[in-house]
Amino acid sequence: MLWLFFFLVTAVRAELCQPDAENAFKVRLSIRTALGDKAYVWDTNEEYLFRAMVAFSMRKVPNRETTEISHVLLCNVTQRVSFWFVVTDPSKNHTLPADEVQSAIRMNRNRINNVFFLNDQTLEFLKIPSTLAPPTDPSVPIWIIIFGVIFCVVIVATTLLILSGIRQRRRQNKESSEVDDAEDKLENMGTIANSIPCDSLNMKGGHVNDGFMTEDERLTPL
């Protein structure tokens, strides 16, 4: 009788966990891809750890705080490594609804990944989409900060160049006007070399230098 009961229980349990069974999820691990040489072997102890993590996740769900490791059933473990799992209720007759299991796994995905040194791509729960991490959005986009810096530098450099150009031109104008002034002064003062101001010379009368006009014969006859 006991054997029959035991046989029934295992049969029922076997039926609860089957590929494509109701409320069953397939899990796929790619340990060698993730860890390379440091890959560990997937054995029954790792399976026990997995069942413990799933039970832990279910305990976080309200009304499911009494989930035990024995309620999590694994089956069809392949070489890949992939397997199916279901979570049963305390009576071990029914499986828990897929939505509850899905939300529980999603909330604790990070911890499950870390336990096995894997990530969302190497520890896949098919049919449970992973929440992608949003990209960090700084309040001010970085490119505007750098743009602002370079823009200010260019404006400052341009202003400096323009101002120095204006100052240079003003100095040139001043110099050329100074040169003009000096030339005017020179003309008014007369030939400085002789230090005889021309104004003092009586241009109308003139002095005849007798040394050059002695005799009329010296003048060339026309």
Partner: protein, 592 residues
């Protein structure tokens, strides 16, 4: 007494200014594409032949004209013949068009440069969709680099008819780009020499760093071998020769009036023949150098994508058949596929349509040129390198140096005739003239920051300068040789530089180069006419790829206007001068 013309600080500044003008974005993003299209190493043969036959003679001609006439393009050509002032005006108009649309590339460069200071790089990850369970649809269909370029940078509209609004981010970057140009050019063209030290030398530093990094990347040798394996049958393809001639022509920047403007600030005794050879050889060497860098990066990216594709296939097979993780590798893939096909035929046939055919050649074959190469392909390669922020900053800094160097030359081409004219320079100081020019160009350039701006950019890039330049340079060569007189010009040149003019230059100027120009011009004209309606590539956000569309009529009208406004200057000014002279002669007769 004639006001003495300003001069370069020293002859080296002139050489650097020319190099920084000639070595521009075309060397980095057009030449590698041509090399790949026309059979790698064998493209170098038509390239060098065209350099010697067309590039060097025309470059020497422009530098000699500028040095001899000592004026900007309008004044120089008016001196050659009063009827040919229109050639100078056409050069200025073409340079104005180029200056308007070229600086938007620098604006994009600034945008990418400023965005490179983030971890992770914004074009390496797709943004999340509304409920954070996946990535945005457009980004999934295309790639993250394409999404960043088309959506975040350009915010491109589906067609040229939907103009959209001005995007403030590229507009700010454009304003900054113009302020940079103004800063460098406000003291006059001859002061550009000081800036030219940086804009000419810094890109080489970055290229050398990239060369070392590129050659040490995994898979770089694949790209290099693909590039340099010569496909000699391409030599028989006439398009290869035509594209080689076109590339040399536009790469040296002939016909814009920049070279004349730069050379006009030379001392008359300057040996411009030596400088011609230096500038043209440096320009070509830079093209080859940068294509080595580009192809090592291509090889890295292609290998990376190929290995990714293989990994996806391996993952798919491993998951479908529950094989042990790590069992399938690239080396035993084919074997295992065969085994699986025979052992589980039904399941294998289910999986087969999902398996992609991964091919390294197909990845390498994606030849890209232009903005697509710089902003999509290169960024994709950079995001996979270690310390990608550093490489990104270096790369866009180099692009900016190249772009700003060419921009300074273009703006100088427009500025020098303006500052030479008595009318303007007596009323306004140099700083105000250059400021006004930059302001006008910036305002017009804001059109390219609209949502459809990239389509207008493509119009300007493809049609604004090609035909006009060919015509301008053809008229220039004929003018110097036959209107001014080759013998007279040669004698003046020899007297000025006190060195004999080799017969080689004379033959090239008189016969070979004009014939080449005529051939190119006729080819392009017939190409445009025969192709019927012109088409363009529009970005389809729903499909995540480019689609071909026809230009609307008003866009075709703009294209026609662009070409006409520069080419018509030549006959119109000639006609105007003729009429003015007849009127003057008619007016002077009654006085006699």
């Amino acid at each position: 007494m004639e006001k003495t013309r300003a001069q370069w600080g020293n002859p080296l500044q002139f050489v650097f200014a020319c190099i920084s003008y000639a070595v521009g974005l075309g060397n980095v993003w057009r030449f590698p594409y041509l090399c790949q299209m026309y059979g790698g190493g064998s493209f170098l043969i038509p390239y060098f032949i065209m350099l010697i036959v067309e590039g060097m003679p025309l470059l020497y001609l422009e530098l000699a004209v500028g040095q001899r006439m000592r004026q900007g393009s309008i004044g120089a050509w008016r001196t050659i013949s009063p009827y040919l002032g229109g050639v100078g005006v056409a050069s200025v108009v073409v340079s104005f068009f180029l200056a308007t649309y070229y600086n938007i590339i620098n604006a994009w460069g600034f945008w990418y440069l400023f965005n490179s200071f983030q971890d992770p790089l914004p074009w390496s990850v797709c943004p999340l969709n509304g409920n954070r369970t996946g990535y945005e649809e457009e980004c999934e269909k295309a790639s993250s680099t394409q999404y960043f370029w088309y959506r975040k940078t350009l915010n491109i509209s589906p067609s040229i008819q939907d103009s959209g609004a001005v995007q403030w981010e590229p507009a700010l970057c454009l304003i900054l780009a113009w302020m940079m140009v103004y800063l460098c050019i406000l003291r006059g063209t001859e002061k550009v020499g000081k800036v030219a030290y940086f804009t000419a030398l810094l890109p080489y530093c970055v290229l050398i760093i990239y060369l070392v990094r590129g050659l040490t990347l995994h898979g770089a040798t694949n790209g290099l071998m693909y590039m340099f394996t010569p496909k000699v049958e391409q030599l028989a393809n006439p398009k290869a020769w035509i594209d080689a001639a076109t590339q040399i022509f536009f790469s040296l920047g002939l016909g814009f009036g920049t070279l004349i403007a730069f050379a006009s600030y030379n001392e008359p005794s300057n040996n411009c023949q030596k400088h011609t050879i230096i500038v043209s050889i440096v320009n070509s060497a830079t093209s080859i150098f940068s294509s080595v860098v580009t192809f090592s990066i291509y090889g890295f990216k292609a290998t990376f994508n190929y290995e990714n594709c293989l990994n996806k296939v391996i993952l798919l097979l491993t998951n479908s058949f529950d094989l042990e993780d790590g069992f399938l590798t690239a080396s035993n893939l084919e074997q295992v596929k065969g085994y699986l096909a025979s052992t589980y035929p039904s399941k294998y046939s289910e999986v087969l349509p999902l398996l992609q055919n991964c091919s390294l050649e197909a990845e390498l074959d994606t030849a890209v040129q232009g903005t697509g190469l710089a902003f999509i392909v290169y960024t994709e390669a950079i995001k996979n390198m270690e310390v990608s922020q550093l490489w990104s900053v270096l790369y866009f800094f180099m692009l900016l140096m190249l772009g700003v160097g060419s921009m300074l030359g273009n703006t100088a081409a427009v500025l020098t005739p303006l500052t030479d004219s008595e009318v303007l320079s007596s009323h306004l100081p140099k700083e105000a003239i250059s400021g006004l020019l930059c302001l006008v160009n910036c305002a017009v350039g804001l059109l390219f920051t609209m949502e459809a701006g990239s389509y207008w950019f493509d119009i300007f890039n493809d049609y604004a300068v090609t035909l006009s330049l060919l015509l301008i340079v053809l008229v220039e060569t004929l003018a110097v040789c036959y209107v001014y007189g080759l013998r007279r010009f040669g004698a003046e040149l020899e007297a000025m530089t006190s060195s004999t003019l080799s017969w080689y230059w004379k033959v090239m100027w008189a016969c070979v180069s004009p014939l080449l120009m005529v051939g190119l011009f006729l080819f392009y004209l017939s190409d445009y006419i025969l192709s019927g309606t012109l088409q363009y590539q529009a970005w389809d956000a729903t499909q995540g790829r480019l689609v071909t569309k026809d230009y609307p009529t008003y866009a075709l009208a703009v294209i026609g206007l662009l070409v006409a406004s520069s080419t018509m200057c030549i006959p119109l000014v000639a006609l105007g001068t003729y009429i003015t002279q007849r009127l003057q002669k008619g007016a002077s007769f009654p006085l006699a």
